[in-house]
């Protein structure tokens, strides 16, 4: 069975709990908290792309544009005075709907054609963000997204005047996306997706409606990307088209690949490396991206399953038992 399907429920739960504890651990350092929040903002759309790329094997080169749909929708609704939860939900659904509409024609295309059309769709959406001045504010984007009202959750209140507030929000969005990923992958739906990735003709012969499954995965993936975009808009308090251009879509693929496509924790790990590493290394922005490009190249050639894949491999070597090897391979 696929690696992610084996992840123990307690480990996944512990991971999410640890995420929530971060603001307590790093209480004295708002800078670290800022980095971790930004990491979550990238990790959520990365989960969306991971579902598509890691589990169904479809490459989308315009996925940040779906995050953009979520970001603009959330920002516009917030500016119109809508509450934070409905605004995020609308952003998520909006991106999912666009994904569905885009997917219906595009998913009929074969491998290279599909990749080209995702690129074209991403560019189209970017050009719309950049040029529909009356709606999106054009190249300047939408500054001044209002700070959400405090959120009363019964047990606790999320106060957005504190930086912890945004972290909790991002962590909650991440937890939702993470849980969705976990459940989908473990469900029979996830098994069908894995079968499509391994052998489309076989999956169809066993009764899988390949097109409908791909479409559902594509729409869910776009919706999760939209959720990430919405959180990003709230956290940065502004939206600009450049956050959702072609290069950002490439970066998202980078995050998924480096973390490990098809692994539950891959998107978070990839996002953490992408956001945090350069902050600590203090290297020039371009040097960092050159280095990431080199990493991408090396991973494509030698370790297509990314860091999580390497970790799993090392884990197997360490255990060294034939039974373990058979169950894990």
């Amino acid at each position: 069975m696929h690696p992610a399907g084996r992840a123990a429920p307690w480990a996944a739960l512990a991971f999410v709990v640890l995420l929530y504890l971060a603001p307590v651990v790093f209480a004295g350092s708002p800078y670290v908290l800022y980095i971790l929040t930004l990491t979550l903002c990238y990790a959520v759309p990365a989960i969306g792309l991971n579902l598509l790329f890691g589990y169904v094997g479809l490459v989308s080169l315009g996925h940040m544009a779906f995050a953009g749909v979520g970001a603009y929708a959330t920002a516009l609704l917030m500016k119109a005075g809508v509450g934070v939860v409905p605004a995020l939900a609308a952003g998520t659904l909006g991106a999912g709907l666009i994904g569905l509409l885009v997917g219906i024609p595009c998913l009929r295309l074969r491998s290279h054609f599909f990749i080209i059309v995702t690129l074209a769709v991403g560019m189209m959406l970017y050009l719309l963000f950049n040029n529909l001045d009356w709606l999106t504010g054009g190249a300047a984007g939408l500054p001044g997204v209002p700070r959400p009202q405090p959120l009363d959750l019964g047990v606790a209140t999320i106060d957005f005047r504190l930086s912890e507030g945004f972290y909790w929000l991002a962590a909650t969005a991440f937890a939702v996306a993470f849980a969705a990923q976990y459940l989908l992958v473990r469900s029979d739906f996830g098994r069908s997706l894995a079968a499509i990735r391994q052998d489309e003709a076989l999956a169809a012969a066993r009764g899988v409606d390949v097109f409908a499954h791909k479409l559902a995965a594509f729409a869910i993936s776009a919706a999760i990307a939209g959720l990430g975009g919405g959180v990003m808009a709230l956290f940065l308090r502004a939206v600009a088209p450049l956050s959702f251009d072609f290069m950002e879509s490439i970066n998202l693929v980078l995050i998924v690949i480096v973390g490990g496509a098809g692994y539950l924790y891959g998107p978070y790990l990839g996002a953490l490396l992408f956001v945090a590493l350069p902050e600590f290394l203090r290297a020039a922005d371009q040097l960092r991206l050159v280095a990431f490009g080199a990493i991408l190249l090396v991973l494509a050639l030698y370790a297509p399953r990314g860091l999580c894949g390497l970790a799993a491999l090392i884990g197997r070597r360490l255990r060294h038992t034939p039974a373990g090897a058979a169950a894990d391979a």
Binding site: S187, D188, Q198, A201, R206, G207, A329
Partner: protein, 250 residues
């Protein structure tokens, strides 16, 4: 009583070559039917058209009284069609048990999603027990946990057949099940197919080049030649037929 499978005037051409050229036949009763013929006779194309992997240019297919030739592959699969591939296809990354379980799972989109929330423990255990029983009958029990990629080619063929049988097919199309299978495994395959047919009678159509294997397995043989059906009869009658011998030699 309507026939189980009725094929009428089925045609499929690639460029100028008529791979299947006006094939008509009926199958009234469950049974194991051998489909033989020289290379290029159109057997695999007939399978592809029957299960919907390729659209027919002409003709009609009815199964249990309903037309199916306009349905797509997965629809026919949900009607009870199951097939193996000449090139042998299994999910290499999954364990043997998961291969078999996947074949049997409900593939309807809505239900699959719900499985994540409300999985019925009893149904799961029953499916798992059945998968293990079939793997055991096919002699693959000790590989249940192992990924399909560690199996030999012959074992993969067996696994593919076990997977199709797990779907409780009403029409099973086996494309050269014996090719690449060693003699020991061949006997196991023979007994396994006989046993599965006795357990759940259905229409099994088997394309095969191994004459000894197919003649002892099938109750009836259909011979194809140059895209058409040449002859049909009991194994003994076919083996004695002058026409069939000519087709193979000429």
């Amino acid at each position: 009583m309507p026939e189980l499978l009725a094929v009428e005037g089925l045609g499929k051409a690639f460029g100028g070559i008529r791979a299947v050229d006006g094939v008509s036949f009926r199958i009234e009763r469950p049974g194991i039917y051998g489909l033989i013929g020289p290379n290029g006779a159109g057997k695999t194309t007939l399978f592809d058209v029957l299960c919907g992997r390729q659209a027919a240019d002409a003709g009609e297919i009815r199964f249990e009284g309903r037309r199916v030739d306009l349905d797509r592959v997965h629809r026919r699969a949900r009607r009870g069609f199951a097939r193996t591939f000449q090139e042998c296809r299994v999910l290499l990354e999954e364990s043997c048990r998961d291969n078999v379980l996947f074949a049997a799972q409900d593939k309807r989109l809505g239900r699959e999603g719900l499985q994540a929330m409300l999985r019925s423990g009893r149904a799961r255990r029953a499916a798992r027990a059945e998968a293990d029983r079939l793997l055991d009958l096919a002699g693959l029990a000790r590989y249940a946990e192992a990924p399909a990629s560690v199996l030999s080619y012959g074992q993969r063929r067996l696994l593919e057949i076990v997977s199709t049988l797990m779907t409780r097919p009403r029409l099973l199309l086996l494309d050269e099940p014996a090719s690449g299978v060693n003699p020991t495994l061949l006997n196991a395959l023979h007994d396994f197919l006989k046993r599965m047919f006795a357990e759940r009678p259905a229409v099994f159509i088997v394309v095969e080049h191994n004459m000894e294997f197919i003649m002892s397995l099938a109750s009836e043989i259909i011979v194809m030649h140059q895209g058409r059906i040449l002859e049909r009869g009991t194994p003994a009658a076919i083996q004695a037929s002058r026409q069939v011998i000519d087709a193979y030699l000429g």
